[in-house]
Symmetry: C2
Subunit: 344 residues, 2 copies
Amino acid sequence: MTTKASGGRRITIRDVAAHAGVSTSSASLVLRGAAGVSAETRRRVEQAMTDLDYRPLAAARGMRGKTFTIGVLVSDIRNPFFGLLLDGVAERIAGTGYEPFIGPGGATAASQMRMIQAMRDRQMDGLILIGPHVAATELEAIAAEVPMVVVGRHGPAENFDTVAGDDEQGSQLIVDHLVGLGHRRISYVTHWDPESADDRRPENRREQGYVEAMRRHGLDGFVDVVREEWSHDGGLRAAAAFAARAKRPTAVHAGADVSAFGLLTGLAEAGLSTPGAISVAGYDNTATSALPRVSLTSVDQSGHEMGRLAADLLLDRIDGRRRSVHELTAPWLAVRSSTAAPED
Amino acid sequence: MTTKASGGRRITIRDVAAHAGVSTSSASLVLRGAAGVSAETRRRVEQAMTDLDYRPLAAARGMRGKTFTIGVLVSDIRNPFFGLLLDGVAERIAGTGYEPFIGPGGATAASQMRMIQAMRDRQMDGLILIGPHVAATELEAIAAEVPMVVVGRHGPAENFDTVAGDDEQGSQLIVDHLVGLGHRRISYVTHWDPESADDRRPENRREQGYVEAMRRHGLDGFVDVVREEWSHDGGLRAAAAFAARAKRPTAVHAGADVSAFGLLTGLAEAGLSTPGAISVAGYDNTATSALPRVSLTSVDQSGHEMGRLAADLLLDRIDGRRRSVHELTAPWLAVRSSTAAPED
DNA sequence: CTGAAAGCGCTTACAG
DNA sequence: CTGAAAGCGCTTACAG
C-alpha cells in the first residue's frame, strides 16, 4: 500500500530528509508548510516526499503538535437529520488537511462525556458536538481545553461557538400555518430527558415559539405541551396519549420528524387518519418527509448549511480565534399534505 | 476536565508511578493489564490512577503499541441501513477498551482509499469497511497491514473477514413473493458504478438470485435488469425509464430501500400508482419502509446483528486470528402493502 | 517481580 | 537558512 524502507519499516521524515540531503528539521518545516526554508530546499524535500510516497504519522505529529483530526460527536447516528449535517461538515473540511471522524456518543450525558474524553485522549485538534445532552458548565470546561463548536444549541457561551436554527421562528411558522388552516386545538410534542431544563436547547426554544404564537393568535387556552422523547417510540407513546383523550387536538406540532413519524404510525394504528382526524407537522424536513406517501409538512433548517458553517467556525477557532460566535440560520416551512383544514 | 499536575501539565504515567512509588515500567504493565506484576503493586498503581484521574494518551500509546481505536469506513452516512450496522458495531465494542470512530469515505473508490489511508496514518488498530467500492486487490493489500473486516461483501478473501447477508436468497424471497401474487413481468433495479464488475458485491449476488428465481419459475423471457445508482435520484431515473416504456413491468424489485423510495416518488409523479399500476419491493427494511404511509415490502438482513458480528470478528482478528472467516446472515421478507396482485 | 534506558516519529527551541 | 539535540508519553527488551 505504502512504500516501505528496506526491512518493511515505515518511511519516516528521516528517510525523506536523507533522500533530499537535508536535515530532518528542514524536512519538518516543509511538511508543516512553515516559513523559513529556501525555495530549493522546499523543492527537494517535496520531491523526496513524492519519490518515497511519504505519509506523516498523525499519532507522532500529535505528540508535539497537531493531529489534524477533528472529532464530531453525534448522539444518535440513526437520526437522518444528522446525516445532512455531517455531509456539510465533511464537505467543508475536505482539502484542508484535517480529517473528520465521527464518534457515536450514545443517548446520555454520561456516555457522551466518555466519548468526548476518548476524543481528547486522541489529541484531536477540534471538536464539533451535534445536539449534545451535556450540561452547560461541562461544555465550558471542555471548550476551555480544546477548540469547540456546538450545533443545535443556542448561545451565549464563553468558550465555544454555536450554530442553531432559529427555533422560535420555526415553531411560529408551524403554528401560523395551522391557524391559517383553521386549527385552534394545537398541541406541541417536545423532547424531554433529565438534562432538558436548559433554555439554550432547541426543544425549549421551539416550545417558547409555540407558546408565543398561540398567545399571539389568542389561543392561550389551548396551549398543550406533551413531553416525550424525540424518537419513533416517543412518537408512538404521544399518539397513544392523544388517542386516549376525550377531547383531542385537531393538529399536532411534533418537535422533530422522527417524533412525527412515530405519531403518524401510532395515530394510524389507533384509527385516527392524518390529516383527516389530526393534522401533523414535523421539524427537520428529512428525506423521508418528502416521500409522496408520507408527505409530512415540516420545518427545514438547512442541516447541510449548518454543518458547513460549524466546520468553518471550528477551523477559524483552531487558527486562533478566541471570541465566541453564535450563528442562527433562518428556517422555512415545507408545506405538504399531512396538514389540512380541520374536519369539524 | 481532567486533573492537572502543577503547571497545567497533563498527568502522565510517570506521575502515576511516582505517586504509587514504583517504576514507570511497572505502571505501564498494570495499565496494559499484562502479567508479571505483584498484586500489591497492581493495587497501588490502580489506586494512583484513580487518585490522579489519570487518562493514558492514546496517541503516545500508538507510537509503540496500540491506539485502542477502531476505524469504521462508511460510504454514505445518509443511508439509513448504515445506522443499524453502526449501532451494532458500537454496542459490541462498548466496554472493550476500544473506541470506534466513523470515517466518511465518500462515494468513490479513490475518496474511500484516502480515508483508509487517513485511518492508517492514525495507527488505528483495526478497520471495518462498510460496503466499500474498493477493488479486491487493494482490499487485500490493506488487510495485509492491518486487521480488517468488510461488511456487505462476500468471500472468499485471503487477509480479511467478510459479513454479508445471503443476497441471492434475499432476492429469491422477493421474486417468489411476487410470482405468488401472480406477477410475471418483474424487473430488477441494480446498482452500477465503475467498480461494480465484481461478483462478490451484493448488487450482483442479488441479480444472480433474481435471475435464478425467474428461471425457476419459467420466466426467463421476462428477465429485465435496469442499472442505476442506488440512491433516491437513481430510483427517480429508473421510474422515468419505466414510465417511458410501452410495455411496463407489473412489479419491480429495487435492490435497496433508498432506490425503492426514489422509485415510489418517481412513479407517483408519472401517475403510476403503487401497488395498483406497479408493485415495488425494496431491500434493507429500513425504519422508513415500516411507516404505515410508506408500507414498503422489503428484505430484512438484520443490520444490527451484522454490525455486532463484524465487530466481534475484528476483535478476534486483533487478538491474533489470521485465518479468514466469511459469515452469511439469513434474510427474511417483511411483506407490506406496496406489493399486491397485478391488476390485469 | 522490578527498574533504568532506549526508542517510536515527529516538532521545537537553540546554536551556528 | 540549516543542523544537532532534546523531548512529547508511552512501551519494550534487557539487566538485576
